[in-house]
């Protein structure tokens, strides 16, 4: 006959296990699971040349642009040796890039501004073929630069540049305060891409639409102030913050004028900020301090009830959400130990995790169309620079230099 363990003995055993687990957690065990890094070593040989007017120095400049694009692409790390070998050969004005058994021919012009774009597009194509993820090196960023004018007044204007920081171009000449720009969807390759932004031209913040070649025109005809515009990826609706009803509320409006602006969310004693559409355009993530400190909430654009769902629970102060184009993640800025860092919320697991560390405030993250790259800006003592990062490599790369505070960067889409 089998003897049963006495219930008392069993309880004792459970208690011991419980106490042991307490001491174990007090020491905070960190378990690191071995995962294969998606970043592979690569080598880029110096370009060889044959029958060409392009000099060595110019070719080395192009090679450096190419190396930057590979290093920040999220899949390769250029070293002295590696499994992916890139050999460039320039004949006349043709560059042939060979990797493995495949050769990619591209035409050069000899002019750096144009050839830089050629290299970016080549890099994007290579990422698409090698890693099934089209690169984002050829996509531009739009952002604002804040600085003091000669009369010591703060002014801010809209700029655009390539993702590696080159070819910065000023887009607005309003001599006022222009902030929070974003491109309309599908502007990649356009020489005159339309964009929206907020301008204080009349003294009150209003939302405008402009192109680099044309003067800004008012987009939202509402009384009061309008702030923090966000377009959906379908290009049909715009979400923004407005005090048209007397407090900073969330509004949404159809861009074709088919529907009046609609007050979407308001709460007593609360400020709403920073809307961001989900990629299908059906939901909006936004900031509200309705429950005390600013947190990020999510709601459906078309719903009968004014119901919102809290997303960020780990940290007290969360702002500037950006929804990844694949719909799976939300990047935002969260205050940890007094410093604002970039964090990630995963819609599949419901987990929040930090992407950045360090002593400088970081905010306004924005996803690239590949859902892998992010751009954000630092914010410290009236100074700010744009940084590039991707989810595979945690190092951040500074892509702006020079005077002025660079902020509110966002990507164009294909």
């Amino acid at each position: 006959m089998k003897t049963q363990p006495s219930p008392l003995c069993f309880e004792m055993y459970r208690l011991i296990i419980f106490l042991f687990s307490l001491t174990a957690f007090a020491a905070e065990i960190e378990i690191r699971l071995p995962t294969a890094s998606p970043v592979k070593p690569a080598v880029v040989f110096p370009f060889t040349k044959e029958n060409t007017d392009l000099d060595e120095q110019y070719l080395e400049t192009l090679r450096n642009i190419f190396v930057f694009d590979l290093n920040t692409g999220g899949f390769l790390s250029v070293q002295s040796s590696g499994e992916h070998k890139f050999q460039g050969k320039v004949t006349h004005k043709q560059l042939e890039m060979t990797v493995g058994k495949k050769t990619y021919p591209v035409s050069l012009t000899g002019k750096l501004d144009a050839d830089r774009k050629v290299i970016h597009r080549l890099s994007d194509q290579l990422h698409k073929d090698l890693f099934q993820s089209e690169g984002v090196a050829s996509l531009r960023l739009i952002y604002s630069i804040r600085d003091k004018d000669p009369s010591n007044q703060w002014v801010s204007e809209i700029w655009m540049q390539e993702a590696d920081g080159a070819a910065a171009k000023r887009l607005t000449f309003e001599n006022t305060y222009c902030i929070t720009p974003s491109f309309y969807p599908h502007t990649a390759g356009l020489t005159d891409p339309p964009f929206v932004f907020v301008s204080y031209k009349g003294g009150q913040s209003k939302i405008y639409r402009a192109k680099p070649s044309s003067k800004p025109e008012s987009l939202i005809e509402l009384r009061g102030s309008q702030l923090l515009p966000a377009l959906n990826r379908q290009g049909t609706h715009i979400a923004f913050i407005s005090d048209a009803a007397g407090r900073p509320d969330l509004f949404v409006q159809a861009l074709d004028g088919s529907m009046k602006a609609k007050q979407l969310f308001s709460a007593p004693r609360a400020s709403q900020a920073s809307p961001a559409f989900s990629p299908d355009g059906r939901k909006i993530a936004f900031v509200s301090d309705k429950d005390g400190s600013p947190r990020i909430y999510c709601m459906e654009v078309v719903s009968k009830r004014n119901r919102v769902q809290l997303i960020t629970q780990k940290n007290r102060e969360n702002t500037s959400p950006s929804w990844s184009p694949d719909g799976k993640k939300l990047a935002f800025s969260a205050k940890v130990d007094g410093i604002r860092q970039i964090w990630l919320y995963d819609f599949e697991t419901g987990e929040e995790s930090p992407l950045t560390t360090g002593p400088i405030n970081k905010e306004n993250p924005s996803w690239a169309p590949d859902s892998l790259h992010l751009v954000f800006n630092t914010d410290e003592d009236e100074e700010g620079e744009l940084f590039l990062m991707n989810l595979h490599q945690k190092e951040t790369v500074q892509i702006t230099r020079g005077s002025g505070q660079k902020r509110f960067a966002s990507w164009e889409t294909r």
């Binding site: 204080y200 003294g203 048209a244 007397g246 602006a261 007050q263 509110f408």
Partner: protein, 219 residues
């Protein structure tokens, strides 16, 4: 001489009480004055209002507001007011950029109002009093228009501060309207943390920067 000292001592001992009595007398006096004034048809804010809508007027039909049930839930203590009818830059209404900082005598009247960290409510008694004085000035001068500019300190993010500044400006506007100023003469602007007065990074600098400022325009 001895009697005088005794009197002083007695006064000092009953100081708080006699102050209280004096305040009560003043308050009662104010009410008496108002009662007498109203006999002659002088109108303070003591109108009988049946509903909030009567007070603030109907919402403009520029946008689709949230349904009444959502709004009515608990907004009683935190009233929202529609924006002024006159659109800046149209129909003779100047752009808000041509509003100017009050000068000379008005400078001390239109002083900035300050806020606690991440808060939009005016808590100081003196500042409430200052706002009441601004309100009475505006009631006496119907040609004066005001823009309230909400500012924040540097600690929260730039985007959130944009909204917080707007919240502050609108709260000040509501207080002025509750003090009897025509809501069509008060505009709101948020400057977030974009225009700090004190450029340092300490608690005193932050305190200076968390403010609502006034710019005026006399038509």
């Amino acid at each position: 001489m001895k009697l005088g000292i005794l009197c002083l001592l007695v006064l000092a001992a009953g100081c708080s009480k006699s102050n209280q009595t004096w305040e009560d007398v003043k308050t009662a006096g104010n009410y008496m004055q108002r009662g007498v004034d109203s006999l002659w048809g002088k109108d303070y804010e003591s109108k009988m209002l049946a509903s909030e809508a009567e007070f603030i007027g109907p919402y403009s039909d520029e946008f689709i507001p949230l349904s009444a049930a959502d709004l009515k839930a608990s907004f009683g203590t935190d009233m929202a007011l529609p924006q002024p009818k006159g659109i800046p830059g149209q129909d003779g209404m100047p752009e808000l950029s041509s509003f100017y900082a009050p000068a000379n005598a008005l400078k001390s009247l239109f002083q900035a109002v300050h806020f606690e960290t991440d808060d939009f409510i005016v808590r100081g008694r003196e500042e409430m009093h200052a706002l009441a004085q601004i309100a009475s000035y505006m009631k006496k001068h119907p040609n004066v228009y005001v823009v309230v500019r909400g500012h924040c300190d540097e600690r929260a993010s730039a985007s959130y501060n944009m909204s917080l500044g707007l919240r502050r400006a609108n709260y000040i506007r509501t207080l002025l309207v509750k003090n009897g100023v025509d809501l069509n003469r008060i505009y709101t602007v948020s400057r977030g943390k974009e225009e700090p007065l004190a450029e340092g990074h300490g608690p005193d600098d932050w305190k200076v920067n968390r403010r609502a400022e006034f710019k005026i325009y006399e038509r």
